[in-house]
Amino acid sequence: MKVQLAKLSAWPRSIGEWMRLRLAAPQLPNDDGFRVPSSSISWSYVFGSAIFVVLLLELVTGLCLALVYSPSADNAWQSLLYLNYQQPFGWYLRALHGWGSNFLVALIILHLIQVFVLGAYKYPREMTWIGGVLLLLLTLAMALTGEVLRFDQEAYWDLAIGFSLAGRTPLIGAHLVHFLMGGPIIAGATLARMFTLHVLVLPAAILVLTGLHLLLVYRLGISEWPMPGRLVKRDTYLAEYRALVEREGEPLIPNGLRKDLIFAGLIVLALMVTAAIMGPKGPNGAPNPSIIQTRPHPDFYFLWMEALMGLLPAWLDTIFALIVLPILLLGLLALPLISPTGERHLLRRPLSMVVAIVVLTVLVTTTWLGTYDPWSPDMNAWSGTPIPVAYLKGRTPLEMQGAILIQAKQCRNCHSLDGTGGMRGPALDTVATRLTRNELIRQILQGGGNMPGYGKALRPAEVDAIVAFLMTMHPANEPPARSSARPADAGG
């Protein structure tokens, strides 16, 4: 596409011609420009351009927000409230920016899955894939730093969790954390760092990488739809591809552009509607660590991490976060180096298929679990979620005291009755059918599993009352459990 400067007239007939000479700009691709195989003009290929459009949208909305937002730890929260309640359309721009980031991450993941499934990461497009994975990591970093800029209680504690995890790195953990925090605690320096990353460093890196990514797509062509049996071989692929484009090539613009535009337009419309209906996220409570009544929650793209941290046994936490996760990421990056040639069709790549299904299942399941995090106790259930009325009727005075104590001793924070209360431990509605009276007393006093022992905190009268109440927790038609060591006609 070398510019034929000599051919351009010194006396231009239009502004376009005038600009073309002075910008040394090539002609825009026209009908004979960028040709791709006709099987590439497919609805499966629209995600990339949608990502670009949403990225532009994020840049624009982010710029608008940066005009009002104050990145100073003592003012950030107030400026967010100002954006929500006083700045004209401030709430809507916050909603667009926040939901836009969710859409962006979702689209990137879809794009990754599509490229993986179609085997388009193979020779000669290895660097396109590697650049793409780096873009995914940069986008996730943008999401993380962006969440911190919504500087409220949740952001504060999510940072604390992240730094605590990073602090487990052997030898350099504490220094690493102090470097990231900009000091000994999460304070103004931390917010300033996150702001710099989110507004200056990361967007620049993303724009440069995106440009390179698009350039590579242009230079190497858009991959054709895979066929079973059509292997990628280093000596023959490029020639085969060029021949395919010669034979059945179509200009990307306007043929592919049509589908890209429709999808991108629909996505933007969906984003605008979502933002208008769901509104901006937060800010929640003020970023004051002395407010103890709080329950932090990451944004949706990190719920899988929260689920794994909550469900894995303690000794696996560090190993997973600092060893397994980096290895998986490295595997993702190095994928095209592991299998650069061979079959592209998914049905002929059983290992890829299995890996994809397993990873997706784990991610979807853990994210879904993270939306209602059953491993977190409900810290207000003891004082805010009453015993279901049906469990109070017909109870003796001692059993009533037991019901009161189940609230007062915070049992409800972890245990549910009739579907209400915490989910950390098992529901107690039918506990008497599973544990005898002695087993109940032992479990309460000594604990076990995820339950702490209450022995030091309960008087004998209190244990008596609680167990009396729990012994009534069985369906009317089912007798309570009895000890298998005693004869059938004796009590449990």
């Binding site: 209906i277 002395s290 004082s383 005075p397 022995g455």
Partner: protein, 437 residues
């Protein structure tokens, strides 16, 4: 033309509508959704549903504890007693203390709002109960008389000698160990209309109980209390320097085309060599100069970026106040301002810690960061457990692990007592690789 004008008009109307529509979009945050600090919540319904409904029922009745939605109860109790009970708990019952000054989470103003709200919401109908016996006992009860009264009034439901059917035993020592005399008195007078327990004048075919009779009944019950069920357990004490600068590959000038004669070639070669030597020397000198300058430039940049690492730890002795503000055998929240701060840090420097006073000058001061992943743990005096909201980790009162994913006990600050003041050595967020205790 007409169609174009019409289209333009429609476009203008649509745009104006959409601009105004943004006002009533469902996503727009409402003033009610503004985040409020927990200590600034003033709505009775919110305060009641979060703090009281658990035991007293969603609408003030049908809970485990005595109903507040009971005009008979509200007719006999005064606001001061309700406030005192909510703020400092009621000893001898399961009612916990909710005031911040007594280890709870509510301000005095919030407790007043709750008391006033209870009265205004459920207190209508109080006049009908104006003849009730007074809240507090005024005579010394007589247990013998009480036993006879029990047979007359209570035995039909609670069985003879208080031992059973159909409404269940009240002679049970465990039950009586969990109820104090005032609570018994209140129950007898006000009853539990939600669950069918009669009040002082609701006994069919019997005269209403008077104040002395209620005192007698309570005295008889109290005489049966004090016998804890036999167990051999005692109550325990109820925590680059980087140097930039790369030396690039040296380049040499390319040779120019040869000239005709040997002599001129020799002279030309000599002069070319001289030029080339000077040029390459200049290039090398320029590169060296830039390398030195870059290296010098990198030093302040590196120093600036690595500033958070230069200090040998961020620890200082910080005062938490007089030890008198920490009652013995209790764990209370204290807040200090982190001394390593900048003026624009805002509320992020208000760092809390849990102070457990054993007795005298013996303390344990815990960081609120859970040892699992740093979420703030919350202390519950009723169950004597620290509970973490993130992944369900719990710790005992002395900080040792009780259950869940935490890999170690709570982090403790070194402390000292100086001139009646409690000091802790703190200043940085506790981490697994740099714990302070």
């Amino acid at each position: 033309m007409k169609r174009r004008r019409l289209a333009r008009g429609v476009g203008v109307v649509l745009s104006l509508t959409m601009l105004h529509a943004c006002d009533w979009m469902p996503g727009r945050p409402t003033p009610a959704a503004r985040p409020v600090n927990p200590s600034e919540v003033t709505d009775f319904a919110t305060l009641y549903s979060q703090n009281c409904a658990g035991c007293h029922g969603r609408n003030g009745h049908f809970g485990g504890a005595l109903p507040l939605n009971n005009p008979a109860y509200l007719a006999i109790v005064d606001d001061a007693s309700m406030h005192e009970g909510a703020a400092n708990g009621i000893a001898g019952t399961s009612m916990p203390a909710f005031a911040i000054g007594s280890g709870g989470m509510l301000t005095d103003q919030q407790i007043t709002i709750i008391v006033n709200g209870i009265r205004s919401r459920w207190g209508s109908g109080q006049p009908a109960f104006s003849g009730a016996p007074p809240y507090a006992s005024q005579t010394e009860g007589d247990p013998t008389h009480g036993a006879k009264l029990y047979g007359d009034y209570c035995a039909s439901c609670h069985g003879n000698n208080g031992t059973g059917e159909p409404a269940g035993a009240i002679d049970d020592p465990s039950f009586l160990a969990l109820y104090n005399n005032q609570a018994l008195r209140t129950l007898i007078i006000a009853g539990r209309p939600d669950l069918g327990h009669p009040g002082w004048r609701d006994y069919v075919g019997k005269a209403p109980l008077n104040s002395a009779q209620v005192s007698d009944l309570v005295a008889w019950l109290a005489a049966n209390a004090g016998r804890e069920p036999p167990q051999n357990r005692t109550r325990a004490d109820l925590h680059h320097d980087g140097r930039a600068g790369r030396v690039q590959n040296r380049t040499t000038m390319s040779e120019s085309p040869e000239t005709a004669t040997d002599e001129s070639r020799q002279t030309a070669e000599a002069s070319r060599a001289a030029t080339s030597n000077r040029r390459s020397f200049l290039l090398r000198a320029a590169l060296l100069l830039n390398a030195l300058v870059l290296a010098a430039f990198a030093i302040p940049i590196a120093g600036y970026l690595l500033a958070p690492l230069r200090r040998a730890g961020f620890l200082k002795w910080i005062s938490l106040g007089p030890i008198g503000s920490f009652p013995e055998n209790q764990t209370r929240l204290a807040v200090y301002t982190n001394p390593f701060r900048t003026p624009w840090d805002g509320t992020t420097v208000e760092i809390p810690c849990w102070v457990r006073r054993l007795n005298g000058d013996s303390f344990q001061v815990f960081a609120t960061n859970c040892s699992h992943l740093g979420c703030p743990v919350r202390w519950f005096p009723e169950s004597e457990l620290f509970m973490c909201p993130c992944h369900g980790g719990t710790f005992h009162a002395d900080g040792e692990r009780a259950s869940g994913p935490p890999p170690r006990a709570l982090y403790q600050y070194p402390y000292k007592v100086n001139n009646g003041e409690l000091w802790v050595k703190a200043g940085e967020m506790p981490l697994m690789t740099s714990p302070k205790a």
